[in-house]
Every structure is written in C-alpha cells, then in structure tokens.
C-alpha cells in the first residue's frame, strides 16, 4: 500500500468524519471480530462490498486509493492463488475477501479521523487502566507512531529496492533485505531521538 495513503487523514464533512473517533475505533474492533468470526465466501464478499461502500462514502480520493492499493491487490492475488491451490476456491475467496474488507475498513478510519483524535480516544479508553500502572498517553502515542511508521517503512522499502536496482542487484533478496532492516532500525532510533529531544514522554 502506498505511503501516501496509510495514516493520512483527508478532511471532510461526511457522517463518517463526524462520528467520534472512539466510536469508529470500537466499530473497527467489532467489525474485525465479525469479519474473522463469520465463515464462508459469501459473507466475505458481502464484507468487501460493505467496506468498499464505506470507503466511498468517506470521500476518499478513489483514484489515489486504488493506485495505492496495487501492491496490496497483487499480494492478495498471490495469497488467493496459493489458497486456491491448497484449499480450493471457496476458502480463497473467504481469506482474500476478509483481508480486503479489513484493510478497507482500517483505511476508512484513517481517512476520516485525525491521528490526534485517535490518540485522545485511545487515551480516554485506557484511562481506567491507570490504576494498574498503564500510562494511557504513552500507549496512545505509541498507537499513533505505529500508524506513522507504516508509510515511512514503505518508503524505506522502496528506497532499499531502488538502491539494489541501481547496483544491479535486483535479484538479490539479501541486497534488499539487509539495508532495509538497518534503515528501519536507524529510523526507529532517529524517531526515539526526536521524541526525546521534544520532551515527549518526560
């Protein structure tokens, strides 16, 4: 999935934008349980259609969204082919359908909700756990950093791939993977330094 899409809020006035972040988070959790719990290809297709309609209703830029999802669709196709070979058509439709539905629902959440609101909702939800030593603000920040890390990690993967290509090592998984892992660790350290320097967590 593209770095431009994940974790990026697109302002709007749809009912999905107006819905409180906490309600959307709880809704996503419940929907995930239902999507995984209900078995069968027919239900998976229904979930994809419903999730797709929600994304359309969110006002997300569909051209950008579809372009951004090309690698995901390719991965889903590979997964589907493998599952057809291993378990047959019905199971493949169910697995790929459930996966697509969850991705579409999560994208709808990030498109319609600023991360700041998600952080506040997570912090509010975790406040009762303060008594057992949980720091709600720290967990909320970790949650938002996780969202932020997805597109930046994709960018690092693309840079590592380009570097391998530039050196004629496009067929070497080692030339792609090792620099990628090193860059991800370095970026994590940089992010830690940045948070530390800004006094976040003090």
């Amino acid at each position: 999935m593209s770095a431009q899409l994940l974790g990026l809020h697109q302002p709007g006035t749809t009912w999905l934008h107006r819905l409180p972040a906490g309600a959307k988070l709880v809704g996503l959790m419940l929907a995930s349980i239902v999507v995984v719990g209900v078995r069968g290809p027919a239900s998976a297709l229904v979930f994809v259609v419903v999730a797709g309609l929600l994304l359309v209703r969110s006002g997300a830029r569909l051209g950008l969204t579809l372009r951004s999802m090309r690698w995901l669709l390719l991965s889903a196709a590979i997964l589907g082919t493998w599952t057809v070979w291993q378990n047959g058509w019905p199971r493949a439709v169910e697995v790929v359908g459930d996966l697509l539905a969850l991705i579409l629902l999560a994208t709808t959440l990030t498109v319609t909700t600023p991360v700041d609101e998600v952080m506040d909702a997570v912090a509010r939800g975790l406040r009762p756990l303060r008594r057992v030593g949980v720091d709600p603000d720290a967990v909320a920040l970790a949650f938002s950093l996780m969202l932020r890390a997805i597109p930046s990690t994709i960018l690092l993967a693309e840079e590592s791939r380009d570097a391998a290509l530039a050196r004629g090592l496009e067929r070497s998984p080692r030339a792609r993977l090792i620099p990628f892992v090193i860059r991800v660790v370095a970026r994590a350290r940089d992010t830690g330094d940045a948070l530390h320097a800004r006094g976040v967590g003090d």
Partner: protein, 229 residues
C-alpha cells in the same frame, strides 16, 4: 541569553576492543546569541551539540544550562533547549503538519481545541498557512525543515540547537532557513558546514578530532578552517 557550561566533559563509546573517545575533555562557557560549530565530518560537532539537551550523555564531566544539570534535570533542560535535526523526516513524527505541531503543544495546551488553534497559529507564523492537513511525507525539503522548526519553536524554548539544518536543502531553501535561524530571538547553537552562515554568528568554534581547535571571532575561525580544512 542563556548560559551553557561544559565542565571537563568527555564522551566515549564502547567498541569491540574497548572504548573510543568521540569528544576529548572540553570546557566551554557559551552565552553568546548565535554560536556556530564547524569542522570536518566525524569531528565531534554533533556529539557536542547533542550533549546540550541530553541526546548524548557525558561520560565524564557535566553540562549545565542556566544552572540545570542536563544529566539530572533533563526534563527541565529539554523544556529550555529545542533541538532541530538535519533530516526533517526523522524529526516529524506525526502524519500531518498540524498534528506534528500539536504534539509539541500537548503539555502547554491540554485542551484539544485550544491546542489545534495554537498549532494553526504556529503554522501561520512560519508561513505554513494551509499546510495543516498536508501529509508530512508530501512536503519538500524546505517545507519539511520549516515545519520541523515550527514544531520545535512552538514551545518557545530559550535555546535552539540546530544540527546541520541546511545540509539537505537546495540553495534557496538553505538561505531561507539560515536567515530565519539567525534572526531568531532565541540563543542559537548551530552546527553547520555553511561557512558563510557560520561567519554571520557571534562566536564560532572549530571542532576537529574531538577537540576544540579554534574558538572565537567567526571571521577568524572560518578563515582558519578555510585555510586548513
């Protein structure tokens, strides 16, 4: 201006066969408005800069900012000392410009609505009106560095430490950010390879091989470095 003291500070790091000293014993008293740190790559400039808000801890000696010990009172020091990194991509940790500035304001503006209004005001102050909802990934190098600066200065620190803030920028943006930094009311500790920028500061230090080789009038220090880079 703030007063930054380094008292017999050294910094060493562990290596596979012992330790390596990155910064030799250094004693400094920094109270000028704009201070430049220049020198070759790997000379210890960034280590020296990172000592000032606790990103690097002194192996021996101590660092004081307005009397506050960086090692013991790090939280209070970081509220006084802002830090700007070379690469804004490393510094911008939230998805959008408004959210990133708002992150800096969480302590001073607990109320979310007030925080977002304040974040928009900070963006406007830095000429970033209309950037609030922009992804930090989609910003140009100059815009990203400007946003990073806005995020740091949003909390109004007394001191700004900038570690090669113009290195990744094109000429126009480099001049723009450089001029902006030198015009700030805050005390500025500027690590830079831009010798023209360094020459415009009030004091310059040439760091080489982990030691302060030259310290004083920027024109003289820069001239010395140009003659023997």
């Amino acid at each position: 201006m703030s007063r930054i003291l380094l008292e017999q500070v050294t910094v060493s790091v562990p290596t596979h066969d012992g330790t390596r000293q990155i910064l030799g014993e250094t004693t400094l008293d920094l109270s000028e408005h704009r201070i430049a740190l220049i020198g070759p790559n790997g000379s210890g400039k960034s280590t020296l800069a990172r000592l000032l808000n606790g990103l690097v801890t002194a192996t021996t000696g101590r660092v004081l900012v307005d009397g506050l010990d960086v090692a013991r009172e790090g939280r209070d020091v970081r509220r006084r000392v802002g830090f700007m990194f070379t690469d804004p991509a490393a510094q911008l940790v939230m998805p959008t410009a408004r959210e990133d500035v708002a992150l800096s304001l969480r302590r001073t503006h607990p109320d979310k609505a007030a925080r977002l209004v304040a974040a928009d005001r900070v963006l406007a102050d830095f000429g970033l009106e209309g950037f609030g909802d922009r992804s930090v990934h989609g910003l140009s190098g100059g815009e990203g560095q400007l946003l990073a600066l806005a995020g740091v200065l949003a909390t109004d620190p007394a001191v700004l430490v900038a570690d090669e803030p113009t290195t990744l920028l094109d000429l126009g943006n480099s001049r723009r950010i450089g001029d902006l930094l030198l015009g700030l009311p805050q005390q500025l500790v500027l690590v830079t390879h831009d010798l023209d920028l360094a020459a415009r500061c009030d004091r310059a230090l040439l760091v080489r091989s982990g030691r302060i080789e030259r310290d004083g009038d920027p024109a003289e220090v820069v001239e010395h470095y140009r003659a023997a880079p």
